[in-house]
Symmetry: C2
């Protein structure tokens, strides 16, 4: 299967590495010059525990790719998705499936502007990865992938083929009957931990140990659940709370990606695709979402105060 | 007039200094050992621009004062008011007037537990001051004081006497016909600037320059105005917004006291007497106050994360 990974950050490198190792024909697409240069010169270095593997894998800037692919797996930052799809339209042909594995909400609306609905596959993954340096990805841990075709009549067969390909690569993939539920559930976890840790400049354990975290977290979950319901996604609020608090206990020392983006690296955050999406949709539906709105406003204020880029 | 200043921080020192210079019989009451020791050893040093004045003024710990006074002027931190009044009850006799010049809301309810309503005088001041070191107060700028007796029938005459005494000391005092309005207006200014600057770790100009500050500030003002209305205090929301934005432009480089307390000195904040008071009363009245509630919860979380004392 000819696969393009659009966005070769930590997760893109992991998927590209595992799929290439399993015999697929993979190209990486990215815009980070030092990363591209390093992979072209030394191959992709993949660190997993004590071992480092080197993989020769083609990597291109979006402007450099022209050859049609069977599947594009999108792993950009949320705010870069549309721009990336626009730039790589030369490789997206009539039957090219585009799989969205980004964190966050509302990407299907962005995808629809560039890809016919029959070719859109939405997904979510709990694999993790990191970047140690340009050209050097860090694995560790295990995960799963769920995907589902937006239009099952036309897309399910190929999506299931992709599930098989991913499983040959050890990615623990499955075809989901309700991937939006999984996407919303993951976004809700991120929506409670990312913004609070970023704005309070603390890790998950520090935030969740405070006496007031529960009031904040519970209200954010409530707003996610209410808006999800209006989007046709049924989430049980009590189960969701249990899921969030259980998850928070397993990653107490972790600084979520939004803390890394905002506080550590002074980069734009993905808040508009988490709490910001809920607040925006809440406004449209007439559902009160004040906590999601306020924390989105505070995060954007902090971005500007820190002069992020 | 025999006056005790309960709480000899920056503002207590300013008032104590100005009233003593005008011939009043003033004692300071405070609990900061180094400050007490410095004033007893060297007198109170008062820095105003390029000049430093030294004033011999008695200063006591609350447990050390026993002699009845005519007036107590309370200048403690908000959360210390009740404790201070309890500790100095020996000097508060049947006719002793107690004047509250603290920032924040709801102090009249604390006062009532220790002082008969007929002796309570509520007030607000826009004088400022600082502490350079133990025993060293910093003046600068000018200000005004407004006071009003809670029970005018019994308290107005003495309150007006106190206004005259303060004016002899250059304090620009006036008897207010609606001091709660002035208290709420000042609290609303503080409620928009203090918590936002503290949680965003920025000065007023940096916060108010962001594109999202207005949405946060406007909603906080709305919540203050709604709750004030239920407390019998009429504030025009449009005028209040204009007042806040005008004020913010004059103090752009300033880090509000809550930023100093929380981020600079890792001390407990007065949030429960600003946004926290509005959120609590909002809950009681059934008025939605989500922004005041959330920012109070975030500030308390940050207090705990920073292990303030």
């Amino acid at each position: 299967m000819k696969i393009a990974i659009a966005g070769a950050g930590a997760m893109g490198c992991r998927f590209g590495y595992m799929l290439t190792k399993a015999g697929q024909d993979v190209v990486l697409i990215d815009e980070w010059p030092a990363h591209i240069e390093a992979i072209r010169t030394n191959g992709l270095q993949v660190v997993d525990g004590d071992t480092t593997d080197t993989l020769q894998i083609p990597i291109y800037r979006p402007e450099e790719v022209h050859e049609e692919v069977d599947v594009v797996i999108a792993f950009t930052k949320s705010m870069k998705l549309g721009e990336m799809l626009e730039k790589i339209k030369a490789i997206i042909h009539e039957d090219t499936k585009v799989v969205c594995l980004l964190n966050g909400l509302g990407h299907e609306y962005t995808m629809e502007k560039y890809v016919p609905r029959k070719n859109i596959i939405m997904g979510v993954t709990i694999w993790t990865a990191g970047i140690n340096a340009p050209g050097v990805a860090r694995l560790g841990g295990t995960g799963t992938v769920e995907i589902q075709a937006v239009e099952e009549a036309s897309g399910r067969a190929i999506a299931e083929e992709l599930v098989a390909v991913m499983n040959q690569a050890g990615l623990n993939a499955s075809y989901s009957e309700d991937v939006l539920f999984s996407i919303w559930r993951k976004a809700c976890v991120n929506g409670t931990m990312n913004a609070t840790c970023a704005i309070l400049d603390a890790n998950i354990g520090e935030v969740f140990d405070t006496t007031t975290a529960e009031a904040v977290v519970d209200q954010i979950i409530h707003e996610f659940v209410e808006v999800a319901h209006h989007e046709g996604v049924k989430i049980d609020e009590a189960e969701m709370k249990n899921y969030v608090y259980t998850a928070s206990n397993k990653v107490r020392a972790h600084y979520p990606s939004m803390h890394q983006d905002l506080m550590q690296n002074h980069r734009f955050t993905e808040i508009d695709y988490l709490n910001g999406f809920v607040a925006k949709r809440g406004l449209e539906y007439g559902i009160p979402t004040p906590y999601c709105a306020m924390i989105t406003q505070l995060i954007h204020a902090k971005e500007q105060i820190l002069k992020v880029q």
